[in-house]
């Protein structure tokens, strides 16, 4: 097996082992936690063996011996034992990284060897000899023997999957063109229409299969969190319990990688700013141990990840005072926002406070940057808060980034697209329902529901569409009613980046429609943000 893949397996197992040790630490009597540790140690040994790294294998066997000592109750499950095991895991990680780079690993630190020796003295003579025997010089034989791990699964380089996905993307575009050509050429030819439909379904199936090849469980995203919560709890003198749910929910590998830092930042925020210290919590009648909950769940073709805490929450008025002071938004616009919208201004650039209070991130990955990352993944993020019950940051993402379903629309003669995920409804634009509120165009879409009126003719062509005179149709989104000439149809598209676009583009890329036309895909949040910034200025 490929050395890179083996070291990846090793890294995963090490993370899992760390997690197991944390569980064991919080509940030393839990036999399942102990068994889980033993299992992951065994995977580490298998991987080291397959790598042909004898010194690494020897160290791993030491760990296995220690864990076996725990399992046989020959060693106590206490802070000392777990601390030593944790340091051993750190050392194995260092060794595997060195091996991965093709270098021989350094010998074990003498004090670690001494710690182990003193620990194993309590294991009985035979076991002590077995363990101490491995503490010597760490000679290496890096000639990988290519040991075959017999499993039901195989590991494939992710670049191969990326290539397969990219090729399926091209196939999707060809399928779209074929469907359009068949519709245009021979609407009456039943055989051709049936053939095109069957091709359509087969491509859908293939796309779905390849898409799921790149999926990974959210558990991978959560792996680092227990350690972070533990370390930060100690650092800030807080007591926190981390609850992880939905580890089996699968997400595109690219998203797992992109979300790692934002998720850590959100958990750090919850720990640092959300949760109160035990005394404060007791004073307001809460339990001393705060809770940070990270969950993942499927919502159709979307995944929702939530980071919530039962801390002090975020005050919308405080957010408002900051964004007004920093001119992120003007007073007139602020008056139109409800409490939830005010709260979500926290994700705007410049909304970070400089003082201690406020419950807003001040270090690491900022909230504005988190939103940018989420938006770049075609997702959205929002926050809800209740001063009594804490705060909850909710991230919604598409399951996969490979193919983007879009709605094509006409703006006069030109065709544009926008992601289907943004579309709430398509409605007729009634000229009598247009209003002007404080200089901003609004439209009544239902009794008691008025939303911003965003004329894309005006914004993209510089010439307004005139409802009642020009052909007009409304695309209702969470940002307002986008007014276009006509909604045309939906299609799966593959987004091609726009290299020529300047930094603040209103387009997230381009695609090729079934008619073979290059179509720009609108970045609605960027457009709305730009409009809002213009109004504020």
């Amino acid at each position: 097996m490929d050395t890179g893949i083996l070291t990846e397996i090793l890294a995963e197992s090490l993370l899992a082992t760390r997690q197991g040790l944390l569980q064991l630490e919080s509940n030393p009597a839990d036999p399942e936690a102990l068994d889980a540790c033993c299992r992951t140690f065994q995977t580490i040994i298998d991987s080291a063996n397959a790598l042909g790294a004898h010194s690494l294998l020897a160290w791993c066997r030491n760990l296995d011996g220690l864990v076996d000592g725990l399992r046989r109750s020959a060693l106590p499950v206490d802070d000392v034992t777990i601390g030593i095991l944790r340091r051993c895991i750190d050392f194995v990680e260092q060794m595997s990284e060195t091996v991965a780079r093709g270098n021989p690993p350094a010998p074990a630190p003498p004090e670690l060897a001494e710690s182990i020796q003193s620990l194993v003295r309590g294991l009985g003579e035979g076991a002590s000899e077995l363990l101490v025997g491995h503490m010597g010089a760490l000679a290496l034989d890096e000639s990988a023997e290519g040991a075959s791990a017999r499993r039901d699964t195989i590991r494939v380089e992710s670049s191969r999957l990326d290539r397969a996905m990219s090729q399926v993307g091209e196939l999707v575009l060809l399928r779209n063109r074929l469907t359009a050509a068949v519709t245009a050429m021979s609407p009456g030819d039943e055989n051709l229409v049936r053939l095109a439909r069957e091709t359509d379904l087969a491509v859908d199936d293939l796309q779905s299969t390849v898409m799921y090849l790149r999926m990974q469980p959210s558990r991978r995203l959560f792996q680092r969190l227990p350690q972070v919560v533990r370390d930060l709890s100690v650092q800030y003198g807080k007591r926190a319990r981390l609850v992880l749910e939905g580890g089996d929910v699968e997400i595109d590998k690219v998203m797992i990688e992109a979300l790692a830092e934002p998720l850590l930042a959100l958990v750090r925020n919850a720990l640092e700013h959300g949760l109160e210290c035990p005394r404060e919590r007791a004073a307001v009648g809460k339990t001393e141990i705060g809770e940070v909950r990270v969950t993942a769940e499927h919502l159709g073709d979307k995944v929702r990840i939530e980071v919530s805490d039962d801390g002090r929450g975020v005050d919308p008025q405080r957010v408002l005072s900051i964004v007004l002071a920093r001119r992120v938004i003007c007073q007139a616009d602020a008056q139109r926002l409800n409490q939830e919208e005010l709260l979500n201004l926290i994700f705007e650039e410049g909304a970070r406070p400089s003082d201690e209070a406020g419950g807003i991130d001040r270090r690491g990955v900022g909230l504005a940057r988190i939103r940018r990352v989420i938006q770049s993944l075609r997702g959205r993020v929002q926050i809800k808060s209740n001063s009594a019950a804490g705060a909850c940051v909710s991230i919604e993402l598409p399951v996969s980034l490979a193919v983007l379903p879009v709605l094509y629309f006409k703006l006069r003669r030109e065709t544009y697209a926008l992601p289907v995920s943004l579309v709430d409804n398509l409605i007729e634009v009634e000229p009598g329902h247009l209003h002007n509120v404080s200089g901003r165009a609004m439209v009544q879409i239902a009794p008691g529901s008025t939303v911003p009126y965003i004329d894309l003719g005006q914004r993209l062509h510089g010439v307004a569409l005139r409802p009642g005179r020009d052909s007009c149709e409304g695309i209702l989104t969470e940002h307002g009613l986008l007014v276009v000439s006509a909604a045309v149809g939906i299609e799966d598209s593959v987004v091609k980046p726009l290299d020529i676009a300047h930094r603040e583009s209103w387009y997230q890329g381009a695609t090729i429609s079934g008619e073979g036309e290059v179509v720009l895909i609108l970045d609605v949040p960027a457009l709305v943000h730009s409009l809002r910034a213009g109004d504020a200025a």
């Binding site: 779905s208 159709g300 073709d301 979307k302 709605l407 289907v420 579309v423 398509l426 909604a487």
Partner: protein
């Protein structure tokens, strides 16, 4: 038609012309509405992914039906044109024949060509009557075709409502979309019925 007076004919034709204008205007709007509802259903399906794959078939059939309906409506418009043209020519010939018939016998005896002209007009009127009958038959056939597609759409909507009832998680959204589609189809059905009735009053 031949038994009707010129005034009755004029009034009947104008009635059909008005009804046709109204029908064309409303049909365009209603068809756009149906297409929009079909697109809405497809958007909903896309937003929910595999979970709504069954409803996806319904949404697609509805959109296909909506597009077939648009094509049929276009042919219906083409069928209306010769009928309206025939009406105008019939009115013109009837008017001219009536003018000639009003001339006194003495005048007609002094100008024997007038009788020939009158016979020609009456012959033309009979031809127009035949053409109008054919155009009416064609229009009636096209109306039936459009009605047939509307019936297919109604069947698709029923399937959609059944599918919506089976989906517990997104039942509200699906039920709303299905109800919207149903409403749009009913409006087209009503429009067709009213138009067919307007034509039937003049061209039984």
């Amino acid at each position: 038609m031949s038994h009707l007076s010129l005034e009755e004919m004029r009034s009947g034709f104008l009635g059909i012309a008005d009804a046709t204008f109204e029908f064309q205007r409303n049909l365009k709007r209603r068809l756009r509405e149906i297409d929009r509802k079909a697109l809405n259903a497809q958007v909903l399906v896309r937003r929910h992914g595999q979970e709504l794959a069954g409803y996806g078939v319904v949404a697609r059939s509805f959109r296909d039906g909506a597009q077939r309906l648009q094509q049929a409506a276009m042919q219906l418009q083409h069928a209306i044109h010769p009928l309206m043209l025939g009406f105008m020519e019939t009115l013109r010939d009837s008017h001219q024949a009536e003018q000639l018939q009003r001339l006194s016998v003495a005048v007609r005896e002094r100008a024997p060509q007038l009788n020939e002209t009158l016979r020609r007009h009456q012959h033309m009127l009979e031809m127009r009557s035949d053409q109008s009958r054919h155009a009416t038959l064609r229009l009636s056939h096209m109306l039936k075709r459009v009605e047939h597609i509307v019936t297919e759409l109604e069947y698709v909507v029923i399937n959609g409502r059944i599918e919506a009832a089976l989906k517990t998680d997104v039942r509200t959204a699906l039920t709303q979309v299905s109800a919207d589609m149903n409403k749009a189809v009913i409006q087209v059905r009503q429009l067709l019925r009213e138009y067919a009735a307007s034509i039937g009053r003049v061209l039984p």
